[in-house]
């Protein structure tokens, strides 16, 4: 029996086959999935911001890319995943609103995606597929049975990556 596990904003969840990890309505946030295809252990972090912006707050672990990725990996290893088999997929990082003359520094979705790419690279975890950017929201579902990440949008179709 496969369970659907919801990953709320700033949360990290780890599970194994046949369960699925789900995040509804990603805007600028990014759903980062890391997967071990042999043990079929999968984890998802609902990343909100690239860097730590405040200390001592209520961060359930997945809020900032810089701290979420090491924690997600560490928890997956504790769960029994193998460090050298890990691969990543991600979706989200949209810019939902555009104001005239907006500076690119403010494009938080894009900054989230770039930071995550850099951190995965540093950690030696291959990013095998991604569905990021644009100006639309995404609902994602990660299937730990086969490592497929299902991305659903309202007006831009559905994709499995």
């Amino acid at each position: 029996m496969s369970a659907m596990i919801n990953v709320g904003m700033a949360e990290i969840k780890i599970t194994k086959a046949p369960n699925r990890l789900v995040t509804t309505g990603l805007g600028s946030c990014i759903g980062l999935c890391i997967y071990d295809p042999v043990s079929k252990i999968g984890g998802m972090a609902h990343i909100v911001l690239p860097q730590v912006t405040s200390l001592g707050d209520g961060d359930p672990g997945g809020k900032y890319a810089v701290t979420a990725i090491p924690l997600l990996v560490e928890n997956m290893l504790k769960f029994g995943a193998n460090r050298y088999r890990l691969a990543a997929k991600m979706a989200g990082g949209a810019e939902m609103f555009t104001f005239q003359g907006q500076n690119s520094v403010l494009k938080i979705g894009q900054r989230n995606a770039e930071t995550i790419r850099g951190l995965l690279d540093d950690a030696g975890i291959p990013l095998v597929s991604q569905e990021v950017g644009g100006n639309f929201g995404r609902t994602i579902e990660f299937n730990t049975e086969n490592g497929e990440l299902w991305v659903r949008t309202i007006n831009y179709g559905e994709r499995v990556i």
């Binding site: 904003m9 949360e11 309505g25 990603l26 805007g27 104001f99 403010l106 609902t139 309202i154």
Partner: protein, 198 residues
Amino acid sequence: MDSIGLSSEQLDALQELTNIGASHAATALSHLLQTRVVLNVPSVQVVPLQKVTSVAGDPSSLIVAVYLKVFGDSPGKALFLFDYEDALRIAERLDTPCGEGLYGNEMALSALKEVGNILLGSFLTALARLTKLKLNFSVPAIAVDMAGAILDAVMLDGEYLDDWVFIDTKFAGNQVKGTLAFLPDSGSLKNLLGALGL
């Protein structure tokens, strides 16, 4: 209301202020749509970041949001949220037919953006007048998408707070409804209450 430390007196004042502001917006909507509009009592709640995407209901529901950034003495974010079907009805009533829906329908989107702009503008202008605070706001932006995605993006635009104060008032008229929301930045609420002598 402990987590933002508001006394019941302050809470009452905030609700009353919002109610007056929202009444101005309701009058504007009533004129635009030539219909009677009723308001709910405003609600003031503290929402942790993790719950932000579901503050306006199901995060996967399709909504239309008009968004203004507020600057000045009481900075924050102002939103007008419509259910998709309500937005279609409003656009139709403003003589912008939506046979094909709202996506890519620049006429209808522009009309709705203007509706949101007028409502939020009336609300903020009333707020500024009542408190004698200086409030400016950006041009409006509009999005048609999942409620969760819209709220997530709004929260990440500008200051990053762990807890948001979400002040909202629901509108209902002849087959149309919507929600007006104001989310003060940190420190903003203090100025707002200070201006009321609280």
